[in-house]
Amino acid sequence: MTPIVEIDGVSKRFVTELDLAESTAKLLGARVEAQTVHAVDDVSLAIAPGEVVGLVGESGCGKSTLGRMVVGLLNPSDGAVRYRGKTYGELKGEAQRKARLKVQMVFQDPMSSLNPRLRVAELIGEAPRVHGIVPRREVKDYVADLLERVGLDPTTARRYPHQFSGGQRARIGIARALGVNPEVIVCDESVAALDVSIQAQILNLFMRLRADLGLTYLFISHDLGVVEHISDRIAVMYLGRIVELGEAEDVIRRPNHPYTQALVAEIPTLGTEKRTFAAIKGEIPSPLHPPPGCHFHPRCPHAFDRCRVERPALKDVGGRLSACHLNDDARRAA
């Protein structure tokens, strides 16, 4: 099947360039440098229609940046994001707009992603109306319909976001994305801010919508437990790179990359026994100055010389991709 979204060797660098004053200062001998953040570094990922791909990784590893490139909020520095085989740039005018609307996003913070000064009806109904998806007269019913679909009382359409609880706001955000009939939804930490009990409601909602509407998800989270539950495939990111990618259950059951292994070990489990915590040592390095070679090597218990100099490629390891030199290593391969 052709992928609906194809992320092809995408990189994103944020560069803070020197302005006139800074360049002058540099000439005068000041120590100012243009700073480059490699937020996403050569990532490839193809998402099939109807698939749910989970993206996990620690804070700052570039998950959101990748998600934003997928919906077109950011342009990749290198590589391309294709929707049904075409980048947004290749499409023109109306076609481009249509294509972009097909890929929507649900944001992390349910409060800040809703304009506090608009009523729910306007929040959800504005885009469909502006884009002529529904005639002006029918917007009201359309909104009511959407609200019902996400499990909200249509009579709440005249309220403002602050009058809702966190879970309800998340639902409004989802209804808004659904309003423009998307095919792909990027969920950026959409349940992270919610209480456990509410989180379950929203996860259920996502799953139901997928079943009803045949949606495709790129599901971003730092919580491997959640990702595991909802995704077909899981991509693990570390410092801008995908380090492991494979079928969800497979990845959880037999993590290949040492980082994935550590993550899996920390999946919240409800035990009745006390347990001793043990963790990877060390701090997450800054993306401003990523370590050479394998980004994970300073914290990796198995690191050896090669890891410090050579970037491991993402290779097929028994039906899944992993980027670790250990896989080539005789000791492990055996």
Partner: protein, 324 residues
């Protein structure tokens, strides 16, 4: 031996929208050396309970009733007694490591002042103690770190500094208010292992406030579950997690995705956490409770249903095993 007894604690906030009964009849006891996990949804009053014990409830809030007996002293009746205890025998760690350290003061200042607040020792001695404690929480090259400012630290390190500050006086009790929720998974594990080790080494009591059942289940000796300002269930960890009596506890445990079949619908607690100023009559969980009936319109007492297990419910799940 009982270190802390909280009895029917009531802390209310007098806001413009009405009285928010953030804590409304919380009771529990804590033994020396015990780790108590205090769990509940956001806004259920966990933090306020912690602040009440330390006497740090800010305007417009007030402790309006109940008793907090710490090592024989009633802190509600004698509010001035807390002054000598705070930071010395009872310490607290806050949720957001980015916010708990004063950004404009060096780490050494912030640690030394804590030592000097309760003990008359030389600055040098205080500094030595600070260095020692930093090492104890796993910070390498403490001398250099002491001269740094908080912004030069990562989140995990800051939280460790905060823990070190809490440990400076080897307190009897540490109240940890969600100290790991703002951290990444791998860092969280580091902190948890650190805390676990320290608590065990020094025989301190710990109140671990969190909304994450999984963490608590692995860490705490006993668990208290809060809902809307009340404790709805307490008991030893194994009991509460293994056989929850209260429908709310059950619901919480059930909604954790782990262990479910992939893609299977999660069981969920319907409805939303109620606003504190608009609580329903009787059992506060009633509107969301699948078992609710007319009997629930009367507030149930916190009853001891089985040894060391108390539950506030008219229709507790008694015989069943935890659903899973």
């Amino acid at each position: 031996m009982t270190l802390l007894t909280v009895e029917n604690l009531q802390t209310h906030f007098f806001t413009r929208d009405g009285v928010a009964k953030a804590v409304d009849g919380v009771s529990f006891t804590l033994e020396r050396g015990e780790i108590l996990g205090l769990v509940g949804e956001s806004g259920s009053g966990k933090s306020v309970t912690g602040f009440s014990i330390l006497g740090l409830v800010d305007e417009p809030g007030r402790v309006v009733g109940g008793r907090i007996v710490f090592d024989g002293t009633d802190l509600v009746a004698e509010p001035s007694a807390i002054e000598g205890l705070r930071g010395k025998r009872i310490a607290m760690i806050f949720q957001d490591p980015m916010m708990t350290l004063n950004p404009v003061l060096r780490i050494d200042t912030q640690m030394v002042e804590t030592v000097l607040a309760h003990e008359k020792v030389s600055r040098k001695a205080a500094l030595a103690r600070a260095r020692e404690t930093l090492t104890a929480v796993g910070i390498s090259s403490p001398d250099e770190r002491l001269k740094s400012y908080p912004h030069q630290f990562s989140g995990g390190m800051r939280q460790r500094v905060a823990i070190a500050i809490a440990l400076l006086h080897e307190p009897d009790l540490i109240i940890a208010d969600e100290p790991t929720t703002a951290l990444d998974v791998t860092i969280q594990a580091q902190i948890l292992s650190e805390v676990q080790r320290l608590a065990a080494d020094r025989g301190m009591s710990l109140i671990w406030i969190t909304h994450d059942l999984a963490v608590v289940s692995a860490l705490a000796d006993r668990i208290a579950v809060m809902y809307a300002g009340r404790i709805v269930e307490t008991g030893p960890t194994a009991g509460v997690i293994g056989a929850p009596h209260h429908p709310y506890t059950r619901g919480l445990i059930a909604s954790v995705p782990h262990g479910k079949r992939h893609g299977e619908p999660l069981s969920q607690i319907d409805g939303m956490t109620p606003a504190l100023t608009r609580l329903p009559e009787g059992c506060k969980f009633r509107p969301r409770c699948p078992r609710a009936d007319a009997a629930c319109t009367v507030e149930p007492p916190l009853a001891e249903l089985s040894p060391a297990r108390t539950v506030r419910c008219v229709h507790p799940h008694l015989s069943e095993k935890a659903a899973a």
